[in-house]
């Protein structure tokens, strides 16, 4: 009388995982053949995919470094994926960090990596349910909600269609954060390379991935920061946000604006 003819989302090794494909494109080996197949398909359509992943990861480093310099020492990294290299707790060695992902493999892996580290932990949860995420013992145990927290949502919101009301659930995160808290977003767009990006989304869809790409225009990404004051230079192409080296940009100018990024601060708090 057992009913085990199903496998939960993310553990079915016949279905590619966004987190593991990202790891592959970043040069990691925490991935399976099915993930590499999706990655290779993606490279066919969008040859710059590796560069995009590289400069997005470089943006994460700059954003976190900026916030640390501003005095933020708590991070909630939502959609953190497989922690290969350049993770938040490594970039900010004195900060407290909670990683959140819904992919059970990414979470199990993060747990493995983080074992023995008492200022970083990981939670398996769905970003679309802020009340659940923010009430987990790991989250409330490690983070102090009376002080600023930076919520990072890198390359995840473009898997959330408008029907899920991302502006609405982001507001529910915002309401729980102390003044001075931050929101960091990177989000793919089809404002340029329209056909290529449409083909890229179709590639993901064809792969039977659990997640599908939803591109947003500049104004729509800006709207995601509702209730936050955008830090200079606002919502811009990923490479245009305070670059400081070759590693932050791509030779192909289209790459540099293929992903919009921004950092917002919740008003009311002082910054250092």
């Amino acid at each position: 009388m057992t009913d085990l003819d199903w496998v939960p989302d993310g553990i079915d090794i016949n279905v590619p995982s966004v987190a593991r494909t990202y790891d592959y494109l970043l040069g990691g080996a925490h991935n399976l053949a099915v993930d590499r197949r999706m990655g290779d398909e993606m490279l066919k359509v969008l040859p710059g995919a590796r560069r995009l992943v590289r400069i997005n990861r470089a943006f994460l480093r700059r954003a976190v470094t900026h916030l640390v310099a501003e005095g933020v020492d708590q991070f909630l990294d939502i959609g953190s994926g497989i922690p290969t290299v350049g993770n938040v707790h490594e970039i900010a060695p004195d900060a407290k960090v909670v990683y959140v992902d819904k992919d059970p493999v990414a979470v199990a892996h993060s747990r493995l990596i983080l074992s023995g580290c008492d200022r970083a932990t990981v939670v398996q949860a769905d970003m679309r349910e802020p009340e659940d995420v923010l009430s987990r013992p790991e989250v409330v145990g490690l983070l102090d909600f009376d002080r600023p927290i930076a919520v990072l949502m890198l390359l995840v919101l473009h898997f959330s269609p408008d029907s899920e009301d991302p502006v609405g659930y982001l507001a529910r995160y915002r309401d729980r954060l102390a003044p001075g808290s931050a929101l960091v977003i990177s989000h793919a767009t089809a404002d340029r390379r329209v056909d290529t990006m449409r083909e890229a989304a179709a590639t993901v869809r064809r792969s039977n991935s659990q997640d599908n790409l939803v591109y947003r225009a500049h104004a729509e990404v800006t709207e995601l920061f509702t209730g936050f004051d955008l830090v200079e230079p606002g919502v811009v192409g990923v490479a245009l946000w305070r670059p400081d080296g070759m590693g932050d940009i791509s030779d192909d100018p289209d790459d540099n604006s293929q992903v919009y990024v921004g950092v917002g601060r919740k008003p009311g708090g002082g910054s250092r």
Partner: protein
């Protein structure tokens, strides 16, 4: 053997330049989790070590190897990173070595490549192993959770007295617990593979199928309803069935069926409690519950805004149940209940079912509450959205009585009475009507209804009598017969005249039996007179399927020749394609004199009457009043047309001799009205005949 290295002052600068160039090229090709200055510093360290190694046989191999590994540790794992590193390092070292140990540069760079490959391989294997471990852990975690919930489920399923089954989308049971087996007195194994619907009483199958189809098609809310299950011993088991959707990642959706044995004492208690305040079919509050909530709302609603009560009656509900059957009607009632709840979802409101096809809505008004007109429109708009019931597209409408902002001290019962009276008035205006309560009107209505309520008793005790109004030949003033009329001598209110008697009879459903009684009395009287008698039928009487039979038996029983019975019926039913027209046509063909009442000589009526075997047409006021000369000429010509079709003209409500004279001139045959003798007992006519 150690070869000398150039030790000029340019050395450090050259090495720093090499590190900078290396960092530039590398960071454009691969992600390195360091800022540019950090990376340059890091690579400068590697360059320094390589430079030392170039100067030492002992170190060349070892350091080259280590630097290759260090590159991989920086996340430089791809071919591009290696290629650019080999190029930039080899060129740089060769440049710096000048004429020095160029061979050792080659050794160092070769070792770097080897070290790189070795570390990439090791890292890949290590990461793959880690991934495998993570996959295993994630899977194990899920399995553990699953085992816990599975064993919890097993305990629950085996230990509970609630019947639990899982059905596929077709209703086939794929899993059945022992309790369900006991409820229906069959082994669970025998039940799997059979259809859930076969297990349910025949009368409830359709409804259950509809609910089930909702869930299978993606409905998300559980549905609970009382049902009867068929037991193996032929008895029925009363249960509360709850259907819940079960979404599955792979394979089709399923439906979980819970059957709570309704004979269970606790459950019964709970149900009785619930049922005493709720309607069983729609699960809405009933009148009792509504009344107590109304009392409370009157007390504590915002005095400036008050409450509003809507009393609804579905239009044509009996027609629907008559045509599509009772289960269809039940389904409709459930849908109506749900829709009303949707309409007031944003309000502090209660929806109740009052009875058969009546619902009520109580709204505690807020500043944002829409006005009554909007609310009524929303209700009827929502109700008129069609839906499927047993393969038919059905929509409905409601007639609504509204009590808006009654005084706070009103009693809930008076308020509901007022709503009901208002509803009746609205119904008098047709379908999809609505009306606001009007206290003055209420008093009048209330008197009429109390009168109507006592009518049946009055008839039995002989308070109702038949009087005869003389019908006069205009040509010579002779009385040719009488028109039978009802009169109620009410002990308190005095005389209730014919028209009001008929209106009261319509309200109480007495029309047909009272009409039959009047008809038989009139026929008997006419036979005694040996003169014609006229009886006016209401529209409802004229369309009664038994009319033809009743008339025939009245004629047969009294021996009155059919031509001596003049039956009047309203023009709008005689001259239309109605059951009444069919009835009267049959009677006319049998020789009965059918008269078209309320004839207006409108062109359409004229055409219709020419095609109908009528004895006569009768005109009433205001047409009776002598018309202006121009109209008079036209009317005279039209009536000539009627007469030329062999149809007589009769005129009622004649009050002056001038009117009588005019009508005589245009060829009218008979007349009645205040000018002549009033209605009286049969003897009065007999004297004049």
């Amino acid at each position: 053997m150690t070869a000398a290295l150039p030790q000029d002052a340019d050395g450090p600068r050259a090495r720093a330049k090499l590190a900078k160039k290396w960092a530039y090229l590398l960071s454009a090709r691969t992600f390195i989790p360091l800022s540019t200055p950090e990376l340059e510093r890091h690579l400068l360290g590697l360059v320094e070590r390589l430079w030392v190694a170039v100067g030492s046989d002992a170190l060349a191999q070892k350091v080259g190897h280590e630097v290759g590994g260090a590159l991989v540790d920086l996340n430089c794992t791809g071919p591009e990173g290696l290629q650019c590193s080999v190029e930039v390092v080899a060129r740089g070292l060769l440049g710096m070595a000048g004429d020095g140990p160029r061979d050792r540069v080659v050794d160092v760079v070769a070792a770097l490549a080897a070290g790189f490959v070795q570390r990439v391989k090791a890292t890949t294997l290590e990461q793959q192993e880690q991934l495998g471990r993570s996959l295993y852990r994630a899977m194990r975690q899920v399995q553990l959770e699953l085992q816990v919930s599975q064993s919890r489920y097993d305990v629950l399923e085996n230990g509970t007295s609630t019947g639990i089954a899982t059905a596929d989308v077709s209703g086939e049971l794929v899993r059945v617990n022992g309790a369900l087996g006991r409820i229906v007195d069959r082994p669970p194994a025998e039940l799997t593979g059979t259809s859930l619907f076969d297990l349910v009483h025949e009368d409830e199958r359709e409804l259950l199928r509809a609910d089930f189809a909702d869930l299978a098609a993606g409905g998300t809310t559980s549905i609970t309803q009382p049902n009867r299950l068929l037991r193996a011993d032929g008895e029925l088991a009363w249960v509360a069935l709850t259907l819940s959707p079960l979404r599955r990642h792979e394979g089709g959706n399923q439906v979980v069926v819970l059957a709570e044995d309704a004979t269970d004492v606790n459950l019964l208690q709970g149900q009785l409690n619930h049922q005493s305040l709720h309607d069983v079919l729609t699960r809405l509050p009933n009148r009792q519950y509504f009344t107590s909530r109304l009392e409370q709302a009157l007390r504590d609603a915002d005095p400036a805004l008050g409450v509003t009560v809507y009393h609804l009656d579905l239009d044509g509900f009996s027609l629907l149940t008559g045509g599509l059957g009772r289960p269809a009607g039940d389904h409709l009632l459930k849908v109506v209940g749900q829709r009303l709840e949707q309409v007031v979802a944003g309000e502090d409101a209660m929806v109740a079912r009052f009875g058969f096809d009546e619902f009520a809505v109580l709204v505690r008004n807020s500043p944002a509450t829409p006005d009554v007109v909007t609310m009524v429109r929303r209700i009827n708009d929502k109700l008129s959205e069609p839906f499927d019931v047993r393969g038919h597209r059905v929509a409905c409408s409601a007639t609504i009585g509204v009590v808006h902002r009654p005084p706070r001290d009103a009693s809930p019962h008076d308020l509901l009475d007022s709503a009901a009276l208002t509803l009746r008035r609205a119904k008098g205006n047709g379908r999809r009507q609505w009306e606001l309560a009007d206290p003055a009107q209420d008093t009048r209505d209330r008197r009429m209804f109390s009168l109507a309520a006592t009518m049946a008793g009055a008839w039995e005790s002989g308070e109702l009598a038949v009087l005869y109004e003389p019908l006069v030949l205009l040509s010579d003033g002779q009385v040719v017969g009488g028109e039978a009329l009802l009169r109620w001598d009410h002990p308190r209110l005095g005389v209730v005249p014919h028209e009001q008697c008929l209106a009261l009879a319509e309200d109480t459903g007495l029309t047909v039996p009272l009409g039959t009684w009047l008809l038989r009395a009139a026929c008997a009287q006419a036979a005694e007179w040996s003169a014609p008698v006229r009886v006016s039928l209401t529209a409802r009487q004229a369309g009664d399927p038994d009319l033809v039979g009743e008339v025939r038996s009245a004629l047969a029983d009294t021996g009155l020749p059919p031509g001596s019975l003049w039956l009047g019926a309203p023009a709008e039913v005689v001259l239309a394609d109605t059951d009444a027209a069919d009835n009267l046509r049959i009677l006319a063909e049998a020789g009965v004199g059918v008269e078209v009442d309320g004839f207006t000589a409108a062109p359409a009526d004229l055409v219709a009457v020419a095609n109908f075997p009528a004895r006569a047409v009768r005109v009433h006021r205001p047409l009776t009043d002598q018309p202006a000369p121009l109209v008079a000429r036209a009317l005279a010509e039209l009536l000539a047309v009627v007469r030329s079709a062999g149809i007589a003209v009769s005129v009622a409500d004649v009050s002056t001799s001038a009117q009588a004279e005019w009508w005589r001139e245009v060829g009218a045959e008979t007349a009645s009205g205040p000018l002549f003798a009033p209605a009286g007992p049969p003897e009065a006519i007999a004297d004049q005949l």
